[in-house]
Each structure stands twice: as C-alpha cells, then as structure tokens.
C-alpha cells in the first residue's frame, strides 16, 4: 500500500513540474473513472460482505479453498470465463479473497480467464474473427490461464 502512495506521489510531482495542465487533467480523469466504477464497486462490496457474513465462510469458500488447488483453480477459471467485471473491481475483489485464504494459484486462474476468456463477449468476437478463430483464441486463453496459474503457484510456494 505504501509503495502505491509513494509511486503516485513521486510521479505526480514530476508530472506537476513538467506540465501542470496535464497533471490536472490526470486528476480529473482519475476522478471521473472513479465515479464511473463507484456504483459497481459498492454493489460488489455489499454482496461480498453479505454472502461472507450470512452464509458461513467455510461453505462459501469450500470450492475455492477447501478441495485443493485443482478444484479451486477450475472453479476460479469457470467464474473468470463467465464473469464480465472491470479490472478496477475484479482486483480489489481478488484481494479480499486472498485475505480469506484463497490461494494465489486460484486467484491467477480467476484473473487470467477474466482477461482472456469471455463467454459474454464471444458473440462480439465472432463477428470480427469468425466462429473458429474466436473459439480457438478463447481456448488458447484458457490454456494460458492454466500455465500462468501453475507459474504463480510455484512462485508463491503453493505448488512443489
């Protein structure tokens, strides 16, 4: 957290000295981006708190944590392929899950498929690439998610 603040402060000071107008524009942009995602943010936070508080955490996280890395990662990958949420909401949500002991391996499967595989956006993709190419690209994304998860798992010592 400290790193993000220090980096932001450093870059903002540099930007301020080089060009004040652009720096102000950056602040305005940041504010309008924030305003855009705020509703979705509140909705996701409320539902996450409600489900974690009312249904017991063990039940809810059973598939992600309790049944081993393989089941967890497959669940994460399925959720990531179907869900269509912006990264400004998805990563904070991932941080919450991480805090609830969901392994990095599972988080990586979720975030990578969220980026690379889109069931919801598939019709759009098909219009440009055609059915075959769009399908293969999404499947390749799924394969990539698998490799990334394994790499992340090894890096954080969750996999041997």
């Amino acid at each position: 957290m400290v790193v993000a603040w220090v980096l932001m402060a450093a870059l903002f000071s540099v930007s301020w000295f080089v060009n004040r107008e652009r720096t102000l524009e950056a602040a305005r942009l940041a504010w309008s981006l924030f305003r855009e995602v705020l509703p979705m943010f509140v909705i996701v936070l409320v539902f996450t708190s409600l489900s974690l508080g009312l249904i017991s955490e063990e039940v809810l996280l059973e598939l992600l944590v309790g049944r081993g890395l393989l089941v967890g990662s497959v669940t994460g990958a399925v959720a990531g392929s179907i869900a269509a949420i912006p990264s400004s909401v998805a990563f904070p949500l991932s941080a919450i899950l991480l805090d609830k002991n969901v392994p990095y391996t599972v988080i990586a499967a979720f975030t990578t498929t969220l980026m690379m595989v889109g069931v919801v956006t598939f019709p759009l993709e098909r219009e440009y690439l055609g059915f075959r190419a769009a399908l293969v690209r999404n499947l390749a994304g799924l394969a990539m998610a698998l490799v990334v998860s394994v790499a992340i798992g090894c890096f954080f010592g969750e996999l041997p």
């Binding site: 957290m1 993000a4 603040w5 980096l7 932001m8 402060a9 870059l11 903002f12 930007s15 652009r22 720096t23 950056a26 602040a27 305005r28 942009l29 940041a30 504010w31 981006l33 924030f34 979705m40 509140v42 909705i43 936070l45 409320v46 996450t48 708190s49 409600l50 974690l52 508080g53 009312l54 990264s87 400004s88 990563f91 904070p92 919450i96 990095y104 990586a108 975030t111 990578t112 980026m115 690379m116 956006t121 759009l124 219009e127 440009y128 690439l129 055609g130 075959r132 190419a133 293969v136 690209r137 390749a140 994304g141 990539m144 490799v147 990334v148 790499a151 992340i152 890096f155 954080f156």
Partner: protein, 175 residues
C-alpha cells in the same frame, strides 16, 4: 435509470438498505448481520487505502500516453519491432475488446501481419497498463511480474500458432 427525478440509483438504495440491516442487526444482537458490517468496514478500509493512488496513477497514464502516438508506429515497423509496438499499443487500450477489435481492423488495413494483429489482440487483454496498475496494487508486484514473464512469450506463441493454422487467406471481417 431514466425514471423519476426523485428516484435514487440502485447502488445507493442497496447501500442504505445494507446500512439499515447492519444497524438493526447490531441493535438486536443478530451476530451474522453484525459480521457483515464488520467485513464491509474492513474491505472499505483496504479500498480507501489503495484506490486513490491507483486511480490517480491510471489518470496520469491516460493524460500522458496518447494511443494515437503509439498507433503511428504500427504497420510500418516489421519483424521484432512489430511485436514490440503491438504490445505497447495494447498497453494503452481502454475499454477492452470493444476498442481492441475495431483497432485490429485498422491494423489490418495498415498492412500489419496477422501474427502481429493477433499478438496485439491477445496483449490488449492481458497487458493493459491501467489494469496492470490495479493488479500490482492489490495482488502485489511479484504477482504481476510473474504473470507478465509467463504470458508475454505465450501470447506471441498463440498468435504464431493461430495465424499459421488459419492460413494466409484469413482476414478479420467488418462486423
């Protein structure tokens, strides 16, 4: 959304209802309800610490890096440079597929090879800088570095494999 002037947006109503539920729970000593409130506050505190610098960094990125500047390099450069610019251009994308797919068409008209176009398309999903800022802030820089190190070679590999499988006659079509 276009309803009466007095109607509140859904998220505000949801938040107020949630706050009321937590307040009532704590008054009635309904433990699961209070726990929701405690969880929410903990999440909100984490977000409050990380969201301002993250959004400001993303704002800085947008005000300094203009997509059009990078786009100029595409199509003309070939070989390794083509891939390099494909990934850099992808980094500047905002709005995901809705922006990236039409840009693929633009690149095709400029004469970029299918390998470069597909590299760009895949990179636009996993190398977007604003997204990466969020990832690094919330999951740590280590996570981001490992993911990049693994996925950049993979996305070029996928682009190579796909374009040779699709053959030379493959074109991205206007929707």
């Amino acid at each position: 959304m276009s309803g009466k002037r007095s109607s509140l947006p859904f998220w505000v109503v949801l938040f107020l209802a949630f706050a009321a539920f937590v307040a009532l729970s704590s008054a009635l000593h309904f433990e699961p309800g209070t726990r929701c409130g405690v969880d929410f506050l903990a999440f909100a505190r984490t977000m409050a610490g990380l969201l301002p610098p993250t959004f400001l960094l993303v704002g800085l990125f947008h005000s300094w890096v203009k997509r059009e500047t990078v786009e100029k390099h595409m199509g003309r450069e070939s070989g390794v440079q083509g891939y390099f610019w494909a990934i850099v251009l992808a980094g500047t994308i905002v709005g995901g597929l809705f922006v990236a797919l039409p840009l693929c068409l633009v690149l095709q008209k400029k004469g970029a090879s299918m390998k470069v176009i597909l590299t760009f398309l895949n990179a636009s999903m996993i190398c977007r800088i604003p997204m990466t800022v969020f990832e690094a802030s919330f999951l740590g820089v280590g996570f981001t570095i490992v993911r990049f190190a693994v996925s950049i070679p993979l996305l070029i590999l996928i682009a190579w494999g796909m374009s040779s499988w699709l053959g030379g006659g493959f074109r991205i079509s206007e929707p």
